[in-house]
Symmetry: C2
Subunit: 302 residues, 2 copies
């Protein structure tokens, strides 16, 4: 299971009722934060998410509306008693700006490790059992979109274990994924485990144009959280110029990539009522939800 | 007249109902901001103060709770259409951290000029007719407290003008503060103007211990806005260690310096109900007010 909270749904500038875009994912008691605009820590306090267990912060890019909350949040995490290292993931060429921001965080009680994403291809790494991938996308500065894949453990298959004559004393070790060597025989986990089972996939995509590479990257997502900077299709030239997306472009991405549910986020400050564009967007992709601060869900394995 | 709005009254960490300490002063259509913690721009939006007319931002020091809102605010000021330079005033040794923060503000449409305060003595400058002074105080990093003095124009004195035989055609020029030379005679403004008239003085003081120099610095203030990190006198050792003040210490400063009104601000996040210490504080200094977000007043000349 994974709990997902959209901490903020605003783009560009915060408004009194809309924090800047940020997403918190909780899995097995560990938290992953994606983006950290000004006010993220306040939204976390309202949502009672806690601070100490944030192990990793993934940044889509280093525009202020996505990172200005970072110094304050890191200091608050420090105040929460964290001493374990924290991993900061960011696109290529972000280090200079992040180092500048982090000068404000004097003497943190934990180490901030830095992972810079590849400039021209997907970056892939594993963290707390989650397969995280970052795809370079198209914005005015280096930007990545993230996919998080949580694999589901294979089921223990008694018939298979018996068929393979596995001694019962090794069953639990093999079920946990370790192999066993006894005298001249090697027992491997696949001898007692069933077929692959579908995991969970969550994608987070802002700020970018809807580039073709996104279709594969977000394919089959259980939840696709995507920017909807502009609701009205007549603003397409503004979307192209500012390298953002229309609601309809996000909806076509969702439709063409077989995702289960789409949350729109990162609304332009001028878009005070995104809800008025929902019907039209749902004509393209039915399972569209207009994001709002602290919209949350829990995804479970099927 | 000067309008004063306490944009936030929180210290250290923002809470859902308390923005970080920041103060906005408006005089003759121009705004002065003191400190800019995370969320300051949101409080400004709620207060409908506008952004374009902020000519000067004075920072007490570069701890995150006083400056982390700066990149977002500067970008929002840029979005508001400002092109005139903005003056950023900060204590000595702040430039490195501020330069780091400002890397986030790519391509602002206005120039940010920087004024570094003296390390060991009062810094004094004039801005839009206001005499601004910064006193180095005692905190864990270089910190200053600010006083703003708005002088009141002298009144035109008809009897004095007649007594000094000033030709009527020069009265308005002399009243405006300019001298007039005609043939061999020089006419000066003091020949037509009355005595000095009391102006307005506002002081803003956080974060510091109540050092003796503050008594003179804040003397005769119409409004003294001062940190009250801790309400309970039993926390004095914590106040000394963290270089902050108790409510009672702020109240004694106000009492001993003949100020008219004291606003307490910069409350510790653990101080959820500062109001419970009000009665005891008012026993020391009667005109004490517990600050809250967007507490505001207008000060007028007597």
């Amino acid at each position: 299971m994974i709990d997902i909270t959209l901490l903020g749904c605003g783009g560009s500038l915060p408004t009194p009722n809309r924090s800047l875009t940020s997403l918190l994912l909780s899995h097995n008691g560990k938290n992953i934060l994606i983006d950290c605009g000004e006010g993220t820590q306040v939204s976390m306090k309202i949502a009672h998410t806690g601070f100490k267990n944030i192990d990793i912060i993934c940044l889509t890019h280093v525009h202020a509306d996505h990172v200005a909350g970072l110094p304050g949040l890191l200091l608050t995490i420090g105040n929460s008693g964290r001493v374990d290292p924290l991993l900061l993931v960011a696109p290529t060429k972000s280090k200079d700006i992040l180092s500048g921001l982090l000068k404000l965080c004097m003497a943190l009680p934990f180490e901030v490790r830095f992972l810079e994403c590849n400039e021209d291809r997907v970056t892939r790494f594993h963290h707390n059992g989650i397969d995280i991938q970052a795809l370079p996308v198209e914005h005015s500065i280096p930007t990545v979109c993230y996919s998080l894949n949580i694999s589901r453990k294979k089921k223990f298959n008694v018939d298979k274990a018996l068929e393979n004559n596995i001694p019962k004393i090794y069953w639990s070790v093999l079920q946990s994924g370790k192999k066993v060597e006894h005298e001249d025989t090697t027992y491997t986990p696949d001898m007692v485990l069933g077929n692959d089972r579908k995991g969970l996939k969550i994608c987070y995509c802002t700020d970018t144009r809807p580039i073709p590479e996104l279709n594969n990257f977000i394919f089959d997502s259980d939840l696709f959280i995507c920017e909807g900077m502009y609701g009205d299709d007549s603003e397409v030239s503004k979307a192209i110029q500012n390298k953002h997306m229309l609601f309809s472009e996000a909806a076509y991405l969702a439709k063409n990539s077989n995702v289960k549910e789409l949350w729109l986020t990162h609304f332009s400050p001028s878009l005070s009522e995104p809800i008025i564009y929902l019907d039209k967007t749902q004509e393209i992709f039915k399972n569209t939800i207009i994001g709002e601060d602290r919209l949350s869900t829990s995804l479970k394995f099927e």
